[in-house]
């Protein structure tokens, strides 16, 4: 670990973005090798959106995310070991091997799920904000959703409910320009998702999703407003997904035009690293963070590889509080 910057929020922002990038780079590689089962939806290119948002939250604030779930928990400060173990389907995974790549959700960090039904986090977010309000807690609930999810009724219902009840909620639309393979312009009416805020009578804010400071400032203002009892805000982070909808699919779903290179030139980690250097942070300190993060990722992978798989009986746990009865004829063939 680097000896500098443990308490410097600027370096923490950099560290969390690096963690996401390096965690996913490793995951993508071992997924290609067949070590991670299922689909892998990566967050690369969008790190500033998640980290900027979460840096504006307290540890005890709530967060609901999406199937593109690797970035959000890391942005909120989750430990890497249980996340990597989950990707490998191990018992020590954050979801005990029941969720996998689309559901990396660490409830100890205030997460209330990363859900793979697009848009379904909207009502949950409104409910968490209501629950906080009814219990007299000054917590807020933040909902990440994509441009694709903006077309789902659940998102509208969640925002309407939050607005009509003036709930402490923040809706962050991470507009990464594609819903699976479909460009946002073919799927979303109107120029900006954030413009829809006017329909709910709440603030709608558009922010550069590649600038972690800008995202943090916008979300911080929304969090202050929410905590003060003034209701929800809709924020749209204009960002970009480097990878295809899911990686290692063997074919390209989303052909990219020349704008791809322009977005890569505006890489959120590169932009922020440059900004820190210009502000006087020593490059060596940033390099030390990069190295420390690489060690953390390697440690997480080793932990995951060393961990046991869940036993068959666990497939029947957590449907309800009590384990379900296991049918004898299934057990016999397990």
């Amino acid at each position: 670990m680097t000896s500098t910057g443990e308490n410097d929020p600027r370096l923490e922002k950099y560290r969390r973005m690096q963690r996401i990038r390096q965690f996913e780079a490793k995951a993508e590689k071992i997924h290609a090798d067949g070590e991670i089962p299922g689909a892998l939806h990566t967050y690369a290119g969008m790190e500033a959106s998640g980290v900027g948002s979460c840096m504006a939250l307290r540890d005890d604030d709530y967060m609901v995310g999406t199937h593109r779930s690797h970035g959000h928990p890391i942005a909120k400060g989750a430990k890497l070991r249980p996340l990597m173990a989950e990707l490998l389907g191990k018992k020590t995974g954050v979801c005990s091997g029941k969720g996998g790549s689309m559901h990396l959700s660490d409830f100890s960090m205030g997460s209330l799920g990363e859900t793979s039904i697009v848009g379904s986090g909207g009502p949950v977010t409104a409910g968490a904000a209501l629950g906080a309000k009814l219990q007299g807690l000054d917590r807020v609930a933040l909902c990440f959703f994509g441009d694709g999810a903006s077309s789902e009724g659940a998102i509208h219902e969640g925002m309407n409910l939050a607005a009509v009840w003036s709930l402490p909620a923040i809706f962050v639309c991470e507009n990464n320009r594609f819903g699976m393979s479909t460009p946002t312009s073919d799927a979303v009416a109107g120029e900006n998702v954030a413009d829809r805020a006017h329909g709910y009578g709440i603030p709608g804010v558009i922010v550069d999703g590649q600038d972690v400071d800008a995202v943090e400032a916008a979300v911080r203002e929304a969090v202050d407003r929410a905590r003060a009892g003034k209701g929800p805000t809709l924020i749209e982070t204009k960002t970009y997904r480097y990878g295809d909808h899911a990686v290692n699919m063997g074919r390209e779903l989303t052909p990219r035009g020349p704008e791809h290179d322009d977005w890569v030139k505006r890489d959120p980690i590169t932009i922020y690293r440059q900004r820190l250097i210009e502000a006087g942070v020593a490059e060596a300190d940033l390099d030390a963070i990069d190295t420390a993060v690489a060690d953390e990722v390697a440690d997480a992978l080793q932990f995951a590889r060393d961990s046991e798989y869940p036993v068959f009986e666990e497939a029947f746990d957590d449907v309800f509080v009590d384990r379900l009865p296991i049918p004898a004829e299934v057990q016999a063939h397990a």
């Binding site: 969720g99 409830f107 009502p123 629950g131 409910l161 379900l324």
Partner: protein, 329 residues
């Protein structure tokens, strides 16, 4: 003990649980105006924060109940008519049923989703559903479907206290029926069925309001010398299979009476359970008396005959028992 209606039993259960635990609150469409009479005086007693009218936004407020439950509340959602659960299938099936599982036990969702089975009164196909079998097919949801006021109160109180999500299907054909209901602490554990009438020739398993039709049929059958036992599972998930099997092993015959549509009904699941586990005890085929797989029409002349009736149950019993003939001396 007091004689109260099914609706009053719902009101009492909600009132007592809200008094007992300040984490319990109720929200839904038109709960403040007390549309069906289950929240009489609630706003005065508990305040508008805990008795919340919602927008007409079932997926929104049912999902919000899930979110509130995840952060420590114990919501009761009044979705009024069970047909209105369909717009909320997304949140019920993908969030409420699955969150505990998918996050490896990190999430806890103690909530109750109440809705009524609003059939038999010319409300046409979109307001007359009995959709509990669809939810029986989704793991992660407990389901109660009581047939009398006493069970309604006891099961609803258990549902509110359960740490698992519970769907409460309240049969509107039972609403005004009065019953002796214990006051105060009267909690019936989820998953325990009840023998509503003892008998020896045939077991009739009734679902929700089907229990009351079955009881009437049992009285008619008694006149013909057929002794029917009537079982009410009360809870559909978890289902008290053992109670049903015990009864069928005794009588050797079974009829499942279910106001739901026939295909994949609760009656179908119970029939399969009997055939798989008590085949050796059966002396006749297991029969289902259900609503046929057509939609429910508006005109009462053609709606009423579609539901399980005393006559259809009696016919089914005659079929499985056979015509009783006096043995020659």
């Amino acid at each position: 003990m007091a004689r109260i209606t099914f609706l009053e039993a719902i009101m009492q259960a909600q009132q007592e649980e809200m008094q007992r635990d300040d984490k319990v609150f109720i929200m839904g469409e038109d709960v403040r105006c007390n549309v069906f009479g289950t929240t009489t005086g609630f706003v005065d007693a508990f305040g508008a924060e805990r008795v919340r009218d919602t927008p007409i936004s079932e997926n929104g407020f049912i999902g919000a109940a899930g979110g509130a439950a995840m952060v420590g509340m114990r919501p009761i959602v009044d979705a009024t008519i069970s047909s209105f659960l369909f717009p909320a299938m997304d949140q019920i099936c993908s969030i409420i049923a699955k969150s505990r599982y998918i996050y490896g036990g990190q999430a806890k969702l103690p909530l109750v989703i109440r809705s009524c089975l609003f059939y038999g009164n010319s409300n046409a196909a979109q307001h007359s559903d009995r959709p509990y079998p669809m939810f029986m097919n989704m793991p992660g949801l407990k389901i109660i479907a009581p047939s009398c006021a006493s069970d309604m109160k006891g099961l609803l109180k258990a549902a509110v206290r359960s740490d698992d999500p519970v769907l409460s299907f309240e049969d509107s054909t039972c609403w005004m029926a009065k019953d002796e209901v214990p006051e105060g602490e009267h909690v019936i554990p989820l998953g325990k069925g009840d023998i509503k009438r003892e008998g020896s020739d045939v077991t009739i398993i009734g679902i929700a309001g089907g229990v009351n039709v079955a009881l009437k049929a049992a009285r008619a059958l008694e006149q013909e010398g057929i002794s029917a036992e009537v079982i009410d599972p009360r809870t559909l998930v978890p289902l008290d299979r053992e109670l049903i099997l015990q009864s069928v092993r005794k009588t050797g015959r079974a009829i499942c009476v279910d106001p739901a549509h026939m295909t994949c009904s609760a009656a179908s699941e119970i029939s399969a359970t009997i055939v798989e586990n008590a085949f050796d005890a059966l002396r006749a085929p297991v029969l289902r008396v259900t609503t046929p797989d057509t939609h429910l029409p508006f005109s009462p002349h053609i709606e009423k005959p579609l539901y399980p009736s005393v006559e259809r149950i009696v016919d089914a019993a005659r079929k499985v028992v056979g015509t009783r003939q006096t043995q020659p001396a």
